[in-house]
Subunit: 143 residues, 2 copies
DNA sequence: TTATAATTGAAAACTATTATCAATAAGGAC
DNA sequence: GTCCTTATTGATAATAGTTTTCAATTATAA
């Protein structure tokens, strides 16, 4: 299970397993949508009442350091986090429920290097994010 | 010239042409890299000494409203602005000098709708940004 | 030139994030 | 299990970025 595996990795890096960390990991490791620190805080408090917002910031920082989560930029804010994808993946985000799914773009790299060549750039990083409405939200809206 | 055209558009929408607005427009209409409010403020102050930071925020807001500029998300901040591109373009940004260039991805839409179909999403918006180093910065680094 | 209302810059308020610090508690040694 | 050390905590203060407030100014139409 992801939560356990993340806790093991924290431990393996010499970090102590505290109630605050367990509560934050439990939320972030299992979320399907990108969450900002305040959202994590509110969700994690139901597991561990005594949690402080500051500990959420600190735990997110460590999880990002260990590459278990990644920061996601959204139209309404740039501090949301999502479990990190394996390999190089792109994002599909539902504007209704916030659900985020990774996808792989076939042959995207080829396009990128073509563009890079044309403009005389060497590419180091890329962001590709699609925003839309998932089928459930579509249904909910029409039904 | 872009600056004049932007000022005309502000005027056409009933906004007064003040020194503060002229100074901000002059900077933002001619920039080749995405600038945040503070950067605009500092650059525009050399044109109009009395400028206040608050007026920069307010002017950027109006320019965005009129779709003359667009907000750009960068790894180190999400409040930079760039003149808006015609049509649907993507961004190529130099990590060295900050220069931003638009490009058109051929057949990108086809890929997006394929992905959308596969995941059951309907896409409303997309972000595609490539980060790298432009030829000038490459040269500067090696030379 | 004058009147008027939009706009301004300075200061205050607000929000999000980070640093400080004494109290707490995790986890290794025994 | 108990003790000890020190990482970690939550509360508070500090900081940074952005927005609101407001009296003074100024663009513009008459």
């Amino acid at each position: 299970m992801t939560t356990q595996s993340w806790l093991s990795q924290l431990k393996a890096h010499g970090y102590r397993l505290t109630n605050a960390r367990k509560a934050v990991v439990e939320i972030v490791a299992t979320t399907t949508s990108a969450l900002n620190p305040l959202q994590v805080y509110e969700a994690a408090k139901s597991t561990y009442q005594g949690l402080g917002l500051v500990s959420v910031y600190r735990t997110l920082e460590k999880l990002e350091e260990l590459e278990l989560i990644q920061r996601v930029h959204l139209p309404d804010g740039c501090n949301a986090y999502l479990p990190q994808a394996d390999g190089h993946q792109h994002l599909l985000i539902c504007e209704g429920c916030g659900k985020a799914e990774y996808f792989e773009g076939d042959n995207m790299e080829a396009l990128f290097s073509k563009v890079a060549g044309k403009h005389g750039f060497s590419i180091h990083e890329h962001w590709l994010q699609l925003f839309g409405v998932c089928s459930q939200c579509e249904l909910a809206a029409s039904g």
